[in-house]
């Protein structure tokens, strides 16, 4: 999944149709990096045979797949979606693509980032699991594969919970699952030789129609800098006056 880099300052387009993406640095979604790392680790532990990296989007999505290949994925699938279809591509459509690919590839495990840092939807993993009728281990901070099931420690509000789910299953990665490795130069060179297959949604029988319409995108209300206070005493007095302490 390719998104605007997390360090970029987001600008809303003057016509309020979206945010400026042209000429802006893009990277792999941070949560997806964690998902790739986890898959590669499972392969290194010989718990999975092959890691396939998938990205849906325009031509540039191949760069994201290359990054995953440099991290250790074996091959890539680029599901080509561009133009108007890409603009309206949402989690439901991506889930349909993922579910169709999972069947075609006979995948046993799908690992995704828990959410994309652009649309912040946090839906694709759950929806992919639903469409496949597979169980889901979302917001995972620890995953252990054990035969036909996976034990997943999940991040929930205020702590952790542990579940055991059957495989095949869908997992979504939370921040603490691992620290993604940096792709080393030799691995980047090696990744160039790995194969990326090109697939069209229509080949998978997926209809990309979206029934969500973005009417407009706005800047959030801007905060204005307040005042400088000179002393702690002054600060506490101001907070007391404002009823905050």
């Amino acid at each position: 999944m390719r998104v605007i880099d997390y360090a970029v300052k987001i600008r809303v387009k003057p016509d309020n149709s979206g945010v400026v993406t042209d000429g802006v640095k893009h990277s792999m979604n941070p949560f997806c990096e964690i998902a790739v790392e986890e898959a590669v680790k499972l392969k290194e532990k010989k718990l999975v045979k092959e890691v396939v990296a998938v990205s849906c989007g325009p031509q540039q999505s191949q760069e994201t797949i290359r990054t995953a290949l440099a991290m250790g994925a074996d091959r890539g699938i680029h599901v080509e979606v561009s133009g108007k279809d890409y603009e309206s591509l949402g989690p439901l459509q991506v889930s349909k693509i993922m579910a169709a690919l999972a069947k075609k590839e006979e995948a046993q495990l799908i690992i995704l980032g828990k959410q994309a840092i652009d649309d912040d939807c946090n839906q694709t993993g759950q929806m992919t699991a639903a469409l496949l009728d597979w169980p889901q281990g979302t917001f995972a901070s620890e995953v252990s594969l054990d035969g036909d099931n996976v034990k997943v420690v999940r991040e929930i509000d205020g702590g952790l919970e542990t579940i055991r789910i059957n495989t095949p299953a869908v997992l979504t990665a939370d921040l603490r699952l691992n620290t993604p490795r940096y792709a080393t130069l030799p691995n980047i060179m090696k990744a160039k030789k790995k194969k990326i297959a090109n697939v069209k949604p229509a080949d998978l029988g997926v209809d990309l129609t979206s029934r969500l319409e973005v009417l407009r995108v706005d800047e959030p209300p801007q905060r204005l800098a307040g005042m400088k206070v000179e002393t702690v005493e002054d600060l506490v007095a101001k907070l007391k006056d404002a009823g905050r302490v």
Binding site: Y6, P91, C121, R154, R216, V232
Partner: protein, 313 residues
């Protein structure tokens, strides 16, 4: 027009964000029903029956609903939907709601809308994208609107004065593909980060994990949760679940005190909706001062203990 709110609870108590979701549901017009699924939830049904704005409570009790697994709750919600044909299905945008509702939506072949902060009309919602750096107004043309509600954006419904009737609904056959094993809630007397009214956060300026004690002391005075910037997490001072920011937790407390935090974009994204922001930093040029209501240019190692002391009086 009718809305189903999926109640979040632990069989003993209703989770507060459900009350915010009930308020949001009320804004749509039409009747609001609550679904309570659990193993033994009479207490929760009693609690919801008094909540203002709820017309009907649908109760499903079965062992398989233990741990609120989405694999078990989804068929129940689908059955309920078949019977009552709600126009809207919603829940709070908590770990529970975020886990469950997309699964329900996919089964209904509708695109859900996550984490809404405003309802413009029954089919048009406002939600934040890019961690709050932009607001998106979305029109949902699905036959059933499935959405989750950001708790901080809607008042909690009143827990008195309501008179909802309850009825049992048949439980669904267990799917048995998942099993809930255990829950480990962080044992802390401090409130949970995303729900706290006051948050004290530390950054790289704290210099070490041990120095976070200064913040814990201050937090205890204010009944506050303690957070951290990504820089402090990356430096290994504190664990990642304390991270406030675009890749961490999004908070919007009444008072946010940023200590030794420079104010990188990624951090601001996680806290700039706080009602009042205080920044304590020795660098007068730190970007955090551009969003702070009250800025104190000072050495935090002196200022924080002084503040704790001043608040003890």
């Amino acid at each position: 027009q009718s809305t189903l709110v999926v109640a979040e609870h632990n069989n003993d108590k209703l989770t507060p964000i459900t009350l915010n979701a009930i308020t949001a549901a009320g804004k749509l017009g039409g009747d609001v029903s609550c679904l309570v699924a659990g193993t033994n939830c009479a207490k929760v049904v009693e609690e919801i029956s008094k909540v203002q704005g709820v017309k009907k409570i649908l109760v499903a009790q079965h062992e398989s609903y233990k741990g609120a697994l989405p694999e078990e709750l989804t068929p129940l919600i689908l059955e309920t939907q078949k019977q009552f044909s709600f126009t809207h299905i919603c829940a709070g945008a908590s770990a529970f709601g975020k886990n469950l509702l997309p699964r329900v939506a996919a089964k209904l072949d509708v695109a859900p809308v996550s984490d809404i902060i405003e309802i413009k009309s029954p089919d048009t919602f406002v939600r934040t994208i890019y961690a709050g750096n932009a607001l998106s107004t979305v029109k949902c043309n699905e036959p059933v609107k499935v959405f989750t509600v950001r708790g901080t954006a809607f008042e909690a419904a009143s827990v008195e004065g309501g008179s909802a009737a309850s009825e049992e609904v048949a439980s669904t056959a267990p799917t048995g593909v998942s099993e809930w094993l255990e829950q480990n809630l962080t044992k802390s007397d401090r409130p949970e980060l995303t729900g706290a009214k006051v948050v004290v956060s530390g950054g790289r300026g704290l210099k070490s994990g041990e120095n976070f004690k200064l913040l814990y002391d201050l937090a205890d005075r204010l009944n506050a949760a303690v957070g951290a910037s990504r820089a402090a997490v990356d430096a290994g001072f504190v664990p990642n679940d304390m991270q406030v920011g675009q890749t961490g937790k999004i908070v919007a407390p009444e008072l946010y005190i940023a200590v030794g935090i420079s104010g990188a974009i990624q951090h601001l994204a996680g806290m700039k909706d706080s009602k009042t922001i205080v920044a304590i930093n020795k660098d007068p040029e730190a970007p955090i001062f551009q969003v702070a209501d009250y800025g104190l240019v000072a050495d935090l190692f002196k200022a924080v203990p002084e503040m704790t002391e001043a608040l003890s009086k």
